[in-house]
């Protein structure tokens, strides 16, 4: 892998982006958005986002999670000045979202989920145009395009039409487009959706590099492993509201204790569920669809012998037992009452 941490940004720009870690980069209070939707003759008001408070610190990768329809994309589009909020306030990179969206636009980058490149243009043309739309001079735009092409390992394809690129190459062009003006913060809407595992891992490296360059990164995702591995802090959104916010480790710690997973047949699962629900050290349990139980307990090490005794005593056929720390999916389950995978 080529390292380009230092040559991506000219020194002057590094100084411009420079900020203290921990300084607020996004601060929203009570951000709201409703839509009127028409079903037949009736018009209904749908509250897509109902009062969102977010705090994103400078220099962090912030993950925004939630099932489809939770209001993630609406929130993101409001923060990126693409739709106007109905209520609430937001300060982004020091500019007021509602009073001065033009200034917000100058300071942020945005990479949409569905792509943003034109089939008939080349990556270089797209990059130069995008830089110039931010008011950058022609010569400087060309310099930046060349640098971005190198940084994202696109030089080889730079002058080919975008329609000839692979999914991963195209996504890299799009990220490059989103940061060509060296914004303080970049919004990435599901940056790895639809990528193969290798391109996905590559994209994670790119995103970490943006952070290393001093940028704040705000990503939405519905991959919990991605949020866990990549994000410094996350917020979980459900039904238009933020239901949890914190570091992945902190959120997992919040569901105190451990998770014990039992491998059981379907009938044994039902019996074991009745049996173990009565145990005082089991704070919560969940039956898995194809058999098996997930038990939330305070201390796995002491719970396991007791669970074994109960299950064995009842003559149930236990195939496996696993002990693990709560995952983000467990956090999601606790906060929203369902698993993100189901939703």
């Amino acid at each position: 892998m080529v390292s380009y941490r230092c040559d991506r940004l000219p020194m002057t720009m590094m100084a411009d982006i420079g900020h203290k870690r921990g300084e607020a980069m996004i601060e929203t209070r009570g951000l709201r958005k409703s839509y009127r939707s028409r079903a037949g003759r009736e018009t209904k008001t749908v509250d897509a986002v109902r009062g969102v408070d977010l705090d994103v610190a400078a220099g962090e990768i912030f993950g925004f999670l939630g099932p489809n329809g939770a209001g993630k994309t609406t929130t993101l589009r409001m923060l990126a000045t693409l739709i106007e909020p109905d209520g609430g306030q937001a300060t982004i990179a020091g500019a007021d979202l509602r009073k001065d969206p033009g200034e917000v636009r100058r300071r942020i980058g945005y990479v949409a989920q569905g792509g943003s490149t034109w089939d008939e243009s080349t990556a270089r043309e797209e990059l130069v145009l995008q830089a110039r739309l931010y008011g950058i001079s022609k010569a400087e735009a060309h310099r930046r395009a060349t640098r971005a092409l190198e940084a994202f390992q696109l030089t080889e394809f730079a002058d080919r039409k975008c329609k000839t690129y692979s999914g991963g190459q195209r996504r890299r062009v799009e990220i490059a487009l989103g940061i060509i003006h060296e914004p303080k913060i970049v919004f990435l809407d599901e940056p790895t959706t639809g990528l193969d595992p290798q391109s996905r891992a590559h994209m994670w490296d790119e995103i970490r590099r943006l952070r290393a360059d001093g940028m704040t990164v705000f990503i939405t995702t519905h991959y919990l492993d991605e949020a866990d591995a990549l994000c410094d802090r996350i917020a979980i959104m459900d039904h238009g509201e933020v239901v949890a916010e914190g570091t992945p480790a902190g959120l997992k710690r919040e569901i105190s204790g451990d998770v014990v997973q039992l491998g059981l047949g379907l009938t044994a699962t039902a019996e074991a569920e009745k049996l173990l629900a009565a145990e005082e050290y089991v704070s919560r349990l969940e039956a898995l669809e194809d058999g098996g139980l997930r038990l939330f307990v305070d201390d796995g090490a002491t719970a396991i012998p007791r669970i074994l005794r109960r299950v064995d005593g009842a003559g149930l056929d236990l195939r496996s037992i696993e002990l693990h720390r709560p995952s983000l999916d467990d956090v999601f389950l606790t906060k929203t009452g369902r698993s993100l995978r189901e939703s």
Binding site: A80, T81, G102, G115, T117, E120, L129, Q130, L133
Partner: protein
């Protein structure tokens, strides 16, 4: 200043993409050329014109206005493709002027129309059409304003309906009566009184009359400045409305 720079950027890109596939300019000019070659020869006897050149003085201006109207109205299709590719959204997160997003595109359409108009005029010259260069330039101004208006309206509607399936019937429905009520193919002088009465309310019929007057060398005719005035006002209104669509939320 910023507006001019931004407009130029968008115009330059759009023109560049058009030139990469210049075949579209010729596809656009194909139909009018067919009219010129296969329909216009019927006109001398039909219109009772003294010479073929006289018939062309009536027909060619109408044909050019037709080209300007249709060329403009169907530009929205390209924009829907851009919307789908995410190019418009990518522009809208930058501080680029929203008016420039429209004007850059519409001006590209105007330039492409003028190229087509020149091709048709040159062909008509081969058929003995004669027109003063000053009059011709003024007629081109009229065409440019018409194309500016129709392409802006088409872009605005495209941003509203967001789908080709809705845009095509909508534009056809608008274009059909506008075309028939403007005396493009035959002068409305032949029309019965009631039809002339309705056509008076069609701004394009004023534009056609004005353009015809210019092709006949009658620059002092009231219809010239009236047509130019009406179309200029409508073009400004169309541009204003369509630019607002670019500023509003679009996916």
């Amino acid at each position: 200043m910023k507006l001019a720079r931004d407009t130029w950027l968008i115009f330059e890109r759009q023109l560049h993409l058009l030139l990469r596939n210049p075949v579209w300019v010729f596809v656009g000019v194909f139909q009018p050329v067919m009219y010129l070659l296969l329909f216009a020869p019927l006109l001398k006897p039909a219109l009772n014109a003294p010479t073929q050149a006289e018939a062309y003085k009536i027909f060619v201006p109408g044909l050019l206005v037709l080209l300007a109207i249709f060329g403009g109205l169907f530009q929205g299709f390209g924009l829907i493709a851009e919307l789908r590719a995410g190019v418009i959204e990518r522009s809208r997160v930058t501080p680029v002027s929203r008016l420039a997003l429209l004007l850059g595109r519409s001006l590209r359409d105007v330039v492409s129309l003028l190229v087509q108009a020149v091709i048709i005029t040159l062909l008509a010259l081969l058929f003995d059409l004669r027109v003063f260069i000053g009059d011709l330039l003024l007629a081109y101004l009229m065409l440019a304003l018409i194309a500016l208006m129709t392409s802006a309206v088409s872009y605005g509607v495209a941003l509203k309906v967001k789908s080709e399936d809705a845009l095509a019937p909508l534009m056809n429905t608008v274009a059909q009566p506008v075309l028939l009520l403007s005396g493009i193919l035959l002068p409305l002088a032949f029309a019965p009184g009631w039809l002339q009465g309705i056509a008076k309310w069609n701004p394009f019929s004023w534009a056609v009359d004005g353009t015809r007057a210019l092709f006949s060398g009658d620059i002092g005719n009231d219809r010239v400045w009236q047509g130019l005035g009406i179309i200029a006002v409508l073009a400004a209104a169309g541009v204003y409305w369509a630019a607002r669509q670019f500023a509003r939320s679009v996916r």
